[in-house]
Symmetry: C2
Subunit: 341 residues, 2 copies
Amino acid sequence: MTNRQIILRQRPEGMVDDSTTSVLESPVPVCGPGQALIKVGMLSIDPTIRTWMNDAPGYLPPIGLGDVIRSGGTGVVVESKSARYTVGDVVSGVTGWQEWAIADDTNKFSVIPKGLGLDLATVMNVVGLTGITAYFGMIDVGALSESDVVVVSGAAGATGSVAGQIAKARGAKKVIGIAGGPEKCAEVVEDYGFDECLDYREGHLARRLHESCPQGVDLYFDNVGGEILDAVLSNIAMKGRVVLCGAISQYNTMEKSHGIANTSMLIVRRGRMEGFLVLDFASRFAEAQLELAGMVLGGTLAHHEHLVQGLEHAPEALNLLFTGGNHGKTLVVVDESVQLS
Amino acid sequence: MTNRQIILRQRPEGMVDDSTTSVLESPVPVCGPGQALIKVGMLSIDPTIRTWMNDAPGYLPPIGLGDVIRSGGTGVVVESKSARYTVGDVVSGVTGWQEWAIADDTNKFSVIPKGLGLDLATVMNVVGLTGITAYFGMIDVGALSESDVVVVSGAAGATGSVAGQIAKARGAKKVIGIAGGPEKCAEVVEDYGFDECLDYREGHLARRLHESCPQGVDLYFDNVGGEILDAVLSNIAMKGRVVLCGAISQYNTMEKSHGIANTSMLIVRRGRMEGFLVLDFASRFAEAQLELAGMVLGGTLAHHEHLVQGLEHAPEALNLLFTGGNHGKTLVVVDESVQLS
């Protein structure tokens, strides 16, 4: 038995291409004491993976050349020499882009409860790190309140769509999405229930935001950075809050990154801009998961998963996040036999 | 008797020059019911005045063409038809650049206590809005703690020098100033007691900051914005805080404002960047003033006042803030007979 792995061959400039990664066949790792062997089922394709490919400071070290691409994923425990895991457990953690992974003390996985009645893709989307990110970004970092006019960029994306729905569910005064193209904007309003959605491709975003919320933006959940962040900053309300969740517009740009011109509006309006990582809230994940699972089961949280079949297509799946060619949470199916039920 | 006033004739581009303002002679205003007539003693020359000259959104409306230049100042009450003021009171408020001002319900002044034994210039500097700004920026917005490595830009300036001294007095682990030129840097260390001071004119600020604080900057008190803000952001520590007090490098630049390239470091390091205005803390001014007056009287707060003689020189005094030609808090003496004792 072999373990197909995707390794980083060369650091990309711009999009990932054929020279970026290679497929390698290694032996299936041996499960040692205190370890579990995991057959990988699905990979979570997230923008942050692209940042790890750069040789730049980040919240984790860059992926080394020749190393397996770091990635979240899920799988099933097929062998266990650890009290933490039982054969048959479906687990979530940093699998990497490969068919087999080892769980141990330095790479801990969490066991996904099976009784919720949710399929694995749904769990990996809204009840997983994607949904949890939206939850803590909106509630804790953003300090969402009912009087807020909320703006969410990347609103048709996995995190943004959940963030906006949480704001609506918690009674925000108005929730405005920003997305790319008329189809995504329609989806943001019709499927995800935002009050409106602005297509940034139409330009004049700052002016159109001003028309949509003349009193300004109280809470901005930013997934994209760059020019869109600048446009929202120019419309920030008194005591407005900018939650920096991601800056996808800057992750693989070939151009010099966009300098933010309107940070002084944070003085004028006494605003706060704060970055966060969901991992910082690890001790409280269950709080978010409980609410999110309840919303999904209750039918009040719309979600889409974009499944890409086959480990070897993970690089193209990552590119989809930057072209906008995905529809909802992007997942790569490595082995479709891995299921929650 | 006439009231000499300096009015805004034309909005400046870059520095204030002869075409920007005019001196006007008006009648001394008549003191009506509920009002007090104030003979202006000194004007507080602050960078924010330059922002009010632009036709741009701000925390106050722009100064209208033909209007007296808006400015803080102090004076003595010479006539009162208000229960708030007694003839002889020395008061502080928005006098404008003129010899006589009216206090009323829409332009309230505060009465300065005379018993502290401090001269008026000192009060206008460290016990006035300048010192109060440093206090709330450092303590409340910055959430200063003893484990903090603190960086202050404009460290030789009125606000920055107080901000750094408060950080030292409260036991911050290390306090690093940023200032322009070797003389100012020497003053920051020798007079104001910072641990060290970096001269931004020497370049490579990001690298030199990294050498000075390899573990990163926990709290940055920013008076300047622009490239210096970017250099500090690239060195922000985990959970670091950036207090946006001012952005003097951007206020009268003739060039396009500097776009901040490193906002994504707020995600990587889970940082917070927050703007504030001292006026938001009005209900708590006394708390700051009590501590600041105690420090001055106890000899633990060094301060310099840069006195410019004559109302007509107020425009040049304002320019000094941008050339760095001032030494400490810049005040214009309109009438030297106005004193606290």
